[in-house]
Amino acid sequence: MNWFRRSQPAIKPAEKKSSVPDGLWLKCKKCGTILYRKEVEANQHVCHNCNFHMRISSRVYRDILLDEGSFKEIGGELRSKDFLKFRDTEDYHKRIRHYEKRTGMNDAVLCGSGTMDGLPVAVALMDFFHFGGSVGSVVGEKIAQVIRLALEEKRPLLILSASGGMRMQESTMSLMQMAKVSALLTRLADAKLPFISLLTDPTTGGTSASYAMLGDVILAEPGALIGFAGPRVIKQTIGEDLPEGFQRAEFLLEHGFVDRIVARPELKQTIGELFRLLQGVPAPEKV
């Protein structure tokens, strides 16, 4: 029956460009304006009417932030393992396969090297659509790999956070990923390589309480939810509603925990310029 076997690799489905459901029109979640999808995409998924920054996948961020065709992925072969045989309302190993299928990613972060306006960089782009951007062993190891790559190739590092926190299904091992990545970042600091942390909606839990808050420069997208404890938990603790704008990017800027809030269309230019300023690279020639 050998002739039934596939001799060539199966046709792979095209990468999903966006997580926004298909259709010509979409409604802004914040102001309710009906928007033409093509225009929203051209505007990097920012609402024309109210400047709401919609959540986007790591691949869309890759296309926004890096020079076309420059990205080389690393760590794409790693796979999460259900080493605790964790079962809540569903087996962890089933959840793993579910998200692998749904996003076509191996885990909640896309890592690799590339260039930003010609400047070589190392990037880790988290993805909230994959397992809520939760951090387990694979996410920790992939970010570790990209830090090692930055050290070896002397590249500045960008970590984009989009995460609800640590992955409970890996229990204390996921907690250890906070220590793992934070410890490795000390080596980047020793090597005097810049690290920019970009906080997007949402950046909470252990992600915020580790690498997200350790950037030499910390940037945030407008309106992003950023905090250690989730708003629901805090509400329970204090027994009253939270003040307007609490734990949003603007709140953190006001309290001194974020350097700048940067609108999505300006991200690439701003991050590139900060890297150049920190590394003593001359300004690019104006066209």
Binding site: L78, A209, F228
Partner: protein
Amino acid sequence: MAIQTALDFEQPIVEIERKLGEMRALSDGTGLKADGEIARLEKKLEQVREQTFSKLSGWQTVQLARHPRRPYTLDYIERLMPDFVELHGDRAYGDDHSIVAGLGRIGGVHAALIGHQKGRDTKDNIYRNFGMPQPEGYRKALRVMQTAERFGLPVITLVDTPGAFPGLGAEARGQAEAIARNLFEMARLKVPVVSVVIGEGGSGGALALAVADRVLMLRHAIYSVISPEGCASILFRDASRAQDAAEALKLTAGSLSELGIIDAIVDEPLGGAHRDWDGAASSLEKAVLSALEELLGQDPQERVAARIAKFERMGIFDAD
């Protein structure tokens, strides 16, 4: 000894102890010869204790780790560092009473000791914020660690917290930043760091004092990414399933040692640390001193590199 707060599964032990006490009093008071009966009860007590404590469930361990009579940081300090001098404040905002920090001598070794502190009763617990630190607590801890580093003193931390405090002020003053900073700075501290989880190791709020060369854990302590209650309500969608969550999270010293997350288990007196504070303290002292002795002999640079490498290795996944 009267035990006012026995856990459910401790009841059979307490019952035998009560009988034994009565028997002894009777024999002392009346001169009645009850030696045989007393010996029989003592033997039974030993057996029941062994049986109960050799196969504790995850949830029973959680209960022991949170036992209201369990020794806390200050109880260990009293026994291990009688000349302890407490230092206060983060030099930025305030003094957090849920973390105790200071200097002293342990077995002749000069060291800084920092630990979470819970309260023994309601009033004390309000003062200690139930052992849940604000950012100031973590910043005080780091300040004292860096003072210790400047003077070449090893750092010992005792971990015992339900977690970092989730409140408005804590968020506004940067709870996330404070924890993150501690992870980063502890990883590269040039002096030896030994951490012992003595009770509850509650998530990031615990880890912020536990990036150490040696992470030890008392036999009946727990260490987890989330409380069983939190896990039950979020993942099991049923807050009443905390017992199941406690099993699933593998938060006991035995499980964490197998996973390579902790470096060693420190034995507690049979029946738990809450039954014998002095015994627990002497067991802890021995473990800390032996870890320190080994670490103090190492080259500082190599020690830091090994510490970072230890955490770098953590993680279980498939690589193909």
